[in-house]
């Protein structure tokens, strides 16, 4: 953090913070409570600061305010002050701020203009708007691409890049404009673990080169590489600390942030916050501790686990429709998209009735294409798909939906009703169920997703976490024999992920078949007995989760953009066999 960006001409050379928030209050029109209330934060040049919190805690609002988007682009009342490179945003013309601060959002494809034929032209777009002379543009573009290590993308078509590549291009397009402050709002929300790590490394590199970075995130892989982390809870600062402390149970856990298992162990062992995310240090502390100390640590871990709220438990699902348990059989399945891309290259897979299977793999490995065949949204190019022993060929999606429930990743692609209750009743009504059966299913589904007390609200008045749960509930209410979930944890916060996991458990307990597409390894390990790993349209591993996700399998997982869950790595450092999921249990393993 020594080499600060050289001060621009006419600016004081002293250590002016790149960003200074002073008693910041943001209030959206028509909301009773402010979205942010009394936030103080300073980010120095060359410093990377994280912002964590539940969905709705105010992370995005903070990012928008820090990027000078409020109130110019987003209408809201702003109190207190925001200063960028020493200039108060309220008194500075837009043009003066543009080259100084830039912001990157979460959906990769929406970041790009969508009209450029090459990445090079995409980067030039910002420079054009700044009025940079054409003769200077290529040099600036080359320098930016070079410093981010993505020169090889320069002549590629932006819309044809993978999500991870697009997101790095989006960051490059902002950095090319030369801002001293880079703000990011959940930049890795849609990326697989390998792409997430690449973005985290890129951001750390930029900070080392002198740019101030403020990143709102859920992922520990990104937050862990920050210097400090601000935790928000209901618009209020719950604390700010090094990431090991901020994400630990005392600050993050109490604010509903997912506490990394390693940080939980570090808390139990009494390690300092600075070492709380260091697996090696935690493993060494466990080896050094005596049996009495380990037992005390385990009980501290258990106690801390309860701070983030009581465990979500969902009662086992009770069937309302008479349906026999259904298995799935996929034989020689191939699928090519128009244009020739072969997404599935000969899949053979048998899933027994009542099995819980997670299909994992990087973006573009073919897992969603495979899942869409299970409801006949896609028809096989070759091969066949059988559900409950019946070939799906020739059946409509709506007909297959009587047996197979499919929950889409993006809830906004399906919600349309005036109330949560009507939305959840849409599916069972389409099946032509009697009113009494529909009412029972709707009540059971609402209880499962934890929204029974919000049944009368409009789905669009709920936050993203709850909207995802409404979409899930609307499929549960159809009482299908097979439940297929596409990325149930994407865009979801820790309590939402716990809820989705509890629903999977309750369905498995009721003997239903559950299939999930995910690149959340911890979620897969925790709730699914069997893991299928896909790479480039093929199944490359298939077996019990304890075997497939063990640290010993790291190389295979890395070949498709995945990594074992964090505790698997720690277990391997300690020589513990299998895949422990509960941090306290690791301490009690002899």
């Amino acid at each position: 953090m020594s080499d600060h960006e050289p001060a621009r001409a006419g600016e004081p050379a002293s250590a002016t913070p790149a960003l200074a928030l002073d008693a910041l209050v943001v209030r959206y029109h028509g909301r009773r409570t402010p979205a942010l209330d009394g936030i103080d934060l300073a980010v120095a040049p060359g410093e990377m600061v994280g912002v964590a919190g539940r969905n709705g805690a105010g992370k995005s609002t903070l990012a928008l305010a820090a990027a000078a988007f409020i109130p110019r682009v987003v209408r809201a009342q702003l109190g207190g002050s925001v200063a960028i490179a020493g200039r108060r945003v309220a008194e500075t013309p837009v043009r003066d701020l543009l080259g100084r601060v830039g912001i990157v959002f979460s959906t990769p494809s929406n970041q790009l203009s969508g009209s450029k034929l090459t990445v090079r032209e995409e980067l030039a777009f910002g420079l054009e708007n700044l009025g940079v002379a054409r003769s200077e543009m290529d040099a600036r573009i080359d320098e930016t691409l070079g410093s981010l290590g993505i020169v090889h993308l320069a002549e590629r078509l932006p819309t044809a890049l993978s999500g991870g590549e697009q997101q790095r291009v989006a960051i490059a397009a902002i950095l090319c404009m030369g801002p001293g402050l880079l703000v990011l709002d959940e930049p890795t929300a849609q990326l697989d673990p390998a792409a997430t790590r690449a973005v985290a490394e890129l951001l750390a590199g930029r900070a080392a080169a002198g740019t101030a970075v403020l990143v709102a995130e859920h992922r520990a892989a990104v937050l862990g590489s920050t210097a400090r982390c601000l935790v928000l809870d209901g618009g209020i600062a719950a604390g700010i600390d090094v990431p090991g402390g901020a994400l630990g149970p005392e600050i993050g856990g109490r604010a509903g942030v997912a506490v990394p298992a390693v940080a939980m162990l570090a808390h139990g062992l009494g390690l300092t916050a600075g070492r709380a995310l260091d697996s090696g240090a935690v493993a060494a502390a466990i080896r050094a501790a005596g049996p009495g100390e380990l037992a005390a640590a385990a009980s501290r871990v258990r106690a801390a686990g309860a701070w983030s709220g009581p465990d979500v438990a969902v009662a086992p699902w009770e069937a309302v429709r008479e349906q026999a348990p259904a298995g799935i059989e996929i034989r020689g399945l191939r699928h090519a998209y128009p244009g020739g891309t072969e997404a599935l290259r000969g899949i053979d897979l048998a899933i027994a009735p009542g099995e819980a299977v997670a299909i994992v793999g990087q973006n573009g490995s073919g897992k969603t294409t495979l899942a869409k065949h299970l409801v006949r949204i896609l028809a096989p190019g070759a091969g066949s798909v059988l559900v409950a022993g019946r070939d799906l060929a020739g059946r409509t999606i709506a007909d297959v939906a009587r047996t197979v429930g499919f929950v889409f990743q993006d809830p906004d692609r399906q919600l349309f009703s005036r109330s949560v209750e009507r939305e959840v009743a849409f599916g069972p009504r389409n099946l032509g169920l009697a009113e009494e059966a529909t009412a029972r299913l709707v009540a059971q589904a609402l209880a499962a997703v934890g929204l029974a007390d919000r049944a009368e609200e409009n789905p669009y008045d709920l936050g993203l976490s709850d909207r995802k749960l409404v979409a899930l509930g609307s499929v549960l209410a159809m009482d299908p024999a097979v439940l297929v979930l596409d990325e149930p944890t994407t865009g979801q916060d820790a309590p939402g992920i716990a809820r989705a996991g509890a629903i999977v458990d309750s369905w498995t307990a009721a003997g239903r078949t559950v299939v999930a597409i995910t690149h959340d390894m911890e979620f897969a390990a925790r709730h699914f007995g069997r893991i299928v790993v896909m790479r480039a349209g093929e199944v490359v591993a298939d077996g019990p989760s304890a075997t497939v996700l063990a640290a010993a399998n790291g190389r295979l997982l890395a070949s498709t953009g995945l990594e074992p869950p964090p505790l698997a790595l720690l277990a391997s450092l300690l020589g513990i066999a299998g895949l422990p999921l509960d941090p306290a249990a690791i301490l009690e393993t002899p």
Partner: protein
């Protein structure tokens, strides 16, 4: 699969190489001619546009894209032929429905006009990179915000189609039957419209944010990275097209004076 950019088909044909403004003027002429010239011109215009597209490697793709307006064009023909108000010359009558000669003629002519306009517009969109059109318009003094609105509108249609397809799948996966009787098909639209509209609003919001982050709303002088070629011959084509536009616009006034109907 997302298209590279709107309806654009990458290529290097003669039509692709024309300056976007040249093509825009030619498109304007074809549409004006289709609506202002006598109906006999319609087959000539349609064949000429298709031949031009085919000669530039776009024949097949233009014809395939005509699927989209096919329903509209067919319904113009059918509704006019069967329900033409004040029709006298009835060919066949079936209860309240009467196939009339006037209706058939009017329907054919109107459908022909719309068809020609679509053929020319699709050929234009497939041969013109939207971004080049934007730069060319800005270079000729159009406000870049205005040019961006045009560009967004051009890109909006394929994006809406894509999102409507996904939404339809999501609702069918919740048991929505889309086939069957007319009433059933209409009812099936309800769960589609809301998410399509809301989804595109969310999309527009995110895209607006991204544009603002790239300094699009900054105002002030703007530079251009991409040089849009303007081949020397284009100047003459544009001059000729402008004359042709004037001729077509004046035709309805001139023709009666010359005793032509």
């Amino acid at each position: 699969m997302q298209a590279a950019s709107g309806y654009y088909r990458p290529g290097d044909s003669w039509l692709h190489r024309r300056n976007p403004v040249t093509k825009l003027l030619a498109l304007a002429w074809v549409i004006l001619a289709a609506f202002l010239l006598p109906p006999l011109a319609l087959p000539v215009l349609a064949v000429a546009c298709l031949a031009l597209a085919a000669a530039n490697g776009l024949g097949g793709s233009v014809v395939r894209s005509l699927r989209i307006p096919a329903v509209l064009i067919a319904s113009i023909l059918v509704v006019n032929a069967l329900f033409f108000p004040g029709a006298v010359d009835v060919i066949i009558r079936l209860g309240p429905i009467a196939l009339s000669r006037e209706g058939l003629v009017f329907g054919l002519v109107t459908a022909g006009r719309v068809l020609v306009a679509f053929i020319a517009s699709i050929a234009f969109l497939q041969a013109t990179l939207p971004d080049d059109l934007l730069e060319a318009l800005v270079a000729r003094g159009a406000s870049h915000r205005f040019a961006w609105v045009i560009l967004s509108a051009v890109q909006m249609v394929p994006r809406l189609q894509e999102s409507a397809a996904t939404i339809l799948e999501a609702q069918q996966a919740r048991g929505l039957e889309i086939g069957g009787s007319f009433g059933r098909r209409v009812r099936a639209l309800v769960p589609l419209i809301g998410p399509v509209l809301l989804g595109s609003l969310i999309d527009v919001r995110e895209r607006t944010f991204a544009l603002e982050a790239r300094g699009f709303g900054a105002g002030g002088p703007r530079t251009a990275y991409r040089v849009v070629p303007d081949p020397p011959g284009d100047r003459w084509i544009r001059a000729a097209t402008l004359l042709a536009i004037a001729a077509v616009v004046l035709w309805p006034f001139v023709a009666p004076a010359l005793g032509i109907r």
